[in-house]
């Protein structure tokens, strides 16, 4: 990418936002570059608060936030005009067909009525609701409601799309379709987006960059490839015998471990291989009954980041 393309769309510095006595964002700093960026973190980490501050819904206690060179607290309309927001919660107007609803959303964004209507039909076809566009949204399934939410966010062709938990409530097939659609918006249509999710797999499928939030702070940020790579070797291990000493020794050798579904997931220290596991097991007097190489997923990186955050 050239220098121009790397100019951040959104920047925030020392941003603190509170809900009464509860501090939701505790002086966070970061930037969203053009392209897809993931906003990761457990529930209550401050992701949605950041999006709502970006939309000008919340006034920061301190710090600055800037989108497209505009301050959302001073020029919220200018910012919102260039943003498409797909909220986490269900949102529709009772009694309205999808076509009317999306056209209405376009009009609210400042589009002339005729243009909004024609654009609504296009966007509904794009998200796969072309055949159902004259049905009232109240009668839609959860998956269809998610798609109509995406359509209303896309209708005015925003410069930045904010997607708050877009795969909520979807079955695996629906989730894959939604993620494919989001990837298409980003890759082929060159639209920048912020994908806010607690599902690491979703973010990993769509985004290049990620900002990890935890307890109102930025726990990690950067390109996913940089954050996770070179990825360390990971093994799923099951042992027979008292594993306490084995796990302690592994930690002493610079490895990290956590309990997996059936045994332990061990992230090796840099350069270490499976022979270290066997050697440590022998020294600790346990038998290795199962060893399977795995790849360090974003989930591992995420948990590692949260762990380091907690330790610090």
């Amino acid at each position: 990418m050239d220098g121009m393309a790397e100019t951040p769309l959104v920047e925030f510095r020392d941003l603190a936002v509170s809900y009464g006595p509860i501090e939701a964002l505790a002086g966070v700093s970061g930037a969203f570059l053009p392209g897809p960026t993931g906003l990761l973190g457990p529930n209550g980490a401050g992701k949605t608060t950041l999006l709502k501050t970006l939309l000008g819904f919340l006034d920061p206690d301190r710090g600055m936030i800037n989108a497209f060179g505009l301050d959302p607290t001073k020029e919220p309309l200018g910012v919102r005009r260039r943003i498409g927001y797909m909220p986490e919660v269900d949102c529709h107007l009772p009694g309205m067909t999808a076509a009317a609803f999306v056209a209405f959303a376009g009009e609210l964004s400042g589009m002339p009525r005729d243009e909004a209507i024609s654009r609504a039909h296009e966007v509904l076809y794009y998200v796969g609701l072309g055949e159902a566009r004259y049905r009232t949204v109240d009668t839609y399934s959860t998956g269809m409601k998610q798609r109509v939410k995406l359509a209303q966010a896309l209708v005015h062709d925003p410069d930045l799309l904010l997607l708050d938990e877009p795969t909520n409530g979807l079955d695996p097939a629906g989730r894959d379709e939604m993620l494919a659609l989001i990837r298409d918006v980003s890759e082929r249509r060159q639209m920048s987006l912020i994908l806010c999710s607690h599902l690491l797999r979703d973010v990993e499928q769509v985004c290049e960059n990620v900002i990890v939030f935890n307890q109102g702070r930025v726990a990690a940020s950067g390109r996913i490839a940089d954050l996770t790579g070179p990825r360390r070797a990971v093994y799923d291990v099951r042992v027979k015998g008292d594993a306490t000493a084995f796990l302690t020794d592994l930690k002493d050798h610079g490895c990290e471990w956590r309990e997996g579904e059936d045994g332990y997931r061990v992230t090796m220290s840099d350069g270490a291989g499976p022979e270290l596991i066997f050697r440590t097991a022998r020294e600790a007097g346990v038998q290795v009954r199962f060893l399977r190489p795995g790849a360090e997923t974003l989930e591992d990186v995420f948990l590692r980041a949260l762990g380091h955050e907690a330790e610090s």
Binding site: C91, Y125, Y126, A180
Partner: protein, 281 residues
């Protein structure tokens, strides 16, 4: 064909924002409300007093002796608008109870407020829905009735001494419509259920009116109208149309103060409730 293979074109045009940004909100809400047949019947029914008054004016022109029983001056319009205030209340329950409550329930409030719209635009858009409907059953028939009265009974109405009726109809219609609309909208914003908001609105207005009448029966003082919005509206009507002995009703200035305070309180409720972020302490 997978959905992501389907067409999507960038939309390049981005003109200036509308000056009246709230109009699409009003238009779409009106379209949804007017699509309900029961509401249209109620709307037509609310013009019934207009028909009765037209007949009254016609009868007076044919049989002048009837005017001894029925008033043929400003009181005719005051009484008419008094009845229309009741219809406005029912129209408002039907159309207004769910205006904000529905958006809070379905999350649609975020659809509005994540757009280039302010909270004021949203409130104005919703308020305009109720104002237009209420003016349609107060101001429009009131002015048409006045014009018909001028045409049918010029002897009674075509004189300088009654020239104030036209402006009085406008003022009373605006006051009735605005007060009822803003109260309904505020109550709608306090609930997520249109039914609860409707019952709350009706219960509040009727409950306070019953309280006013009870207090009046006990103490016999016009100040009892201070407790009831309908009582305050009636006092304004009395002042505008000389409906009753003014000594027995609340002075219009007090009534106006009650109405202003009530409206301000409703706007404050709307200001705190119409938000994209609900803060639960």
């Amino acid at each position: 064909m997978p959905i992501y293979e389907q067409t999507y074109r960038r939309h390049e045009a981005r003109g200036p924002l509308r000056r009246v940004r709230f109009w699409p909100i009003t238009r779409e809400a009106l379209r949804l409300i007017l699509a309900r047949r029961a509401f249209l019947i109620l709307l037509m029914f609310s013009w019934l007093p207009f028909v009765i008054r037209v007949i009254q004016i016609y009868v007076i022109t044919r049989f002048p002796e009837v005017s001894r029983i029925l008033p043929v001056d400003g009181r005719l319009f005051g009484d008419f608008l008094g009845w229309q205030a009741l219809f406005a209340m029912f129209i408002t329950i039907f159309a207004g109870a769910g205006l904000v409550a529905g958006d809070l329930r379905t999350g649609a409030i975020l659809v509005y407020l994540s757009r280039p719209l302010t909270r004021r635009d949203y409130v104005l858009g919703k308020l305009a829905v109720l104002l237009l409907l209420n003016l349609f059953i107060t101001l429009v028939p009131g002015l048409v009735l006045y014009l018909l009265a001028l045409g049918l009974a010029p002897d009674q109405f075509w004189k300088w001494s009654l020239a104030w009726i036209g402006p009085a109809v406008v003022v009373d219609s605006l006051v009735i419509s605005a007060v009822i609309s803003v109260i309904a909208l505020a109550i709608s914003s306090l609930s997520r259920s249109a039914r609860v908001a409707g019952i709350g609105f009706f219960g509040l207005l009727m409950g306070l009116e019953i309280t006013r009448k009870t207090l009046y029966a006990i103490y016999g003082r016009p100040e009892t109208a201070l407790v009831s919005p309908l009582g305050a509206l009636y006092s304004v009507g009395v002042a505008l149309f000389d409906l009753a002995d003014r000594a027995l009703t609340l002075p219009w200035l007090y009534a106006a103060a009650v109405i202003a305070l009530l409206s301000a309180a409703c706007l404050l409720i709307l200001r705190s409730r119409v938000r994209a972020v609900e803060i639960v302490q």
